[in-house]
Amino acid sequence: MRFTDILEETYAALSTNKARSGLTILGIVIGISSVIVMLAIGQGAQSSIQSSIQSIGSNLIIVMPGAQRGPGTFVSAGRGSARTLTLDDANAIASQFSDVSAVAPEVSGRYQVTSKSLNTNTTVDGTVPSYTSVRNVTIDSGSFISDLNNSGAAKVAVIGPTARDDLFGTGVDPVGQIIRINKIEFKIIGLTKTKGGGGFGSQDDMIFIPLTTAQRYLSGNQYVTTISVAARDAKSTANVQQEITDLLLSRHHISDPTAADFNTLNQADIASAASSIAQIFTILLGSVAGISLVVGGIGIMNMMLTNVTERTKEIGLRKAIGAKGGDISLQFLIEAITLTFLGGLIGVILGWAVSFGITYFGLIQTKVALSSILLAFGVSAGIGIIFGYYPARRAAKLNPIVALRFE
């Protein structure tokens, strides 16, 4: 039997009962498209988590004070409360390692901030010029804090767009305006560009001032609350993290690493933890959709079995005029595979369109990967073969004499 003839027979058989073929295909369409959409949502979530972690900075290592431990029991003020890091620590990190590209010490706290007519409570971050390169901050208008501002402990501020909206209203250029932080007047010299969401506290709802100004007028001491370090590249971050730990332990005269009075956080660790969560999420969504695909496959088997029973007499005739068992089973198998293939094709297109729609209407970021399309196609062809095989065998095994007498 020629392949083109098999296809012709398949077309004739499937078009005989268009409604039934259509509904069976629909089962596969729903299965395949939901697999694609679910995987697209999962992968989209994964990449948007990645990019929001990336927006915090590149190859970032964050050093924070730890809880101070003394002998015996004591009342802990919690992690990050200890005053252990100093500007000298930051300078030591910056000067000693070749793999460190920039270091930005920070003194941050939340303060009530007022403009002429409005007020807000936001994070005020005392820092240095290298902060922009460590944390990927770009300036929209005006300029960032300079070394001159720092050495003179100038009362100048750079404002984030969200804080600007709260204090002056949307779209207003705040450069040159005066704000009061903790009742001290600051002159605004710059506005930062929007960085978007950011998983760990908005980077847009912030006000930056010189580090020395923050220490003198706001915190009133010489300690820093965070040291952000940028490594030269992604490969060197783990190494740099270890070097910083060793350096600070020796600077703080601590011999037992478990008793360290500071913590270091590697951005790569955060990223991999977040992406493994997103991956589990994707697998979960995908397997729920996979169940509907299996249900669609059972629909195919059901239809093919009904077909074999309905067409018993036809099968008997075909065998009587010379069709071998293999010809019959091949015909039924190709029918099942055609159904799943068509369902798969429409499902991929529909799934793609729905994923695009979800992104277009701004619900969630989605990303249709080639691998998930190939997976969907592979699975649908597999389902055709698996669920088509049993009905096909049943058709092939029919005895022509019995089949011809069947009413």
Binding site: R2, R318, A320, I321, G322, G325, I401, L404
Partner: protein, 233 residues
């Protein structure tokens, strides 16, 4: 040429053995028109299944064109049916939603014949079976009973078989249409030299053949070329 020697067919149900055929032997030469007659339950259907390579005998030998068909596997039997046998059934058995031409071409599909040749041979067969060319494109359920049976005869002819087996071909037709169909068989036998075996339980139908083999209870009762006498008896 067909030769059947001592064939028996036994159906086993539990401990009971049922002899559908008992030691049947006969020869049919090429170009003969034979009727196999018998009441229902006589074993004529079983004999037809064996002659048509749909079934194999429990014992005995069946030679079709010098080839022993009685011990072949299912797929080998399918090839014999495809190449050497044409069936005409009482209930026609055409594909309902297919055109006349497609129905007649169907056996050639399994033979792997190319499309153009298939269509040409189907047209020739339909003309030989006496169907008007105007009906070739019609669906089979748009035709009358007599026309349908002629399509079935054309389908039986299309693979150029050694043997045409017709199982009660007029059973679902009125007497007048039945006469036309039987006339078609006679014409194919006399003008084209086709070997035809007609299975029937009606004397009037069997009369159209040159030779009548009469079976009862699984055995041959009479095998007569001069059948007009038999009917009178």
């Amino acid at each position: 040429m067909i030769e059947v020697k001592n064939i028996s067919k036994i159906y086993q149900t539990g401990d009971i053995e049922l002899f559908a055929l008992k030691n049947v032997s006969f020869k049919i030469e090429d170009g003969e028109f034979v009727a196999i007659m018998g009441p229902s339950g006589s074993g004529k259907s079983t004999l037809m299944h064996i002659l048509g390579a749909l079934d194999t005998p429990t014992s005995g030998t069946y030679w079709l064109d010098g080839k022993d068909v009685s011990t072949l596997s299912e797929d080998e039997l399918a090839i014999i049916r495809r190449d050497k046998i044409g069936f005409v059934f009482q209930s026609f058995n055409l594909l309902p939603r297919a055109t006349v031409l497609r129905n007649v071409m169907l056996p050639l599909v399994y033979e792997g014949v190319a499309r153009e040749e298939r269509e040409q041979r189907a047209r020739e067969s339909l003309q030989a079976a006496g169907l008007d060319e105007a009906h070739f494109g019609h669906l089979s359920n748009q035709l009358s009973g007599g026309q349908i049976q002629r399509v079935a005869i054309a389908r039986a002819l299309v693979n150029n078989p050694s043997l045409i087996l017709a199982d009660e071909p007029t059973g679902n037709l009125d007497t007048k249409t039945g006469e036309i169909v039987l006339g078609t068989f006679q014409k194919l036998n006399q003008e084209k030299g086709r070997t035809i075996i007609l299975i029937t339980h009606e004397h009037e139908v069997a009369e159209h053949a040159q030779r009548i083999i009469f079976i009862r209870d699984g055995g041959i009762v009479s095998d007569q070329k001069d059948h007009h006498q038999l009917i009178i008896q």
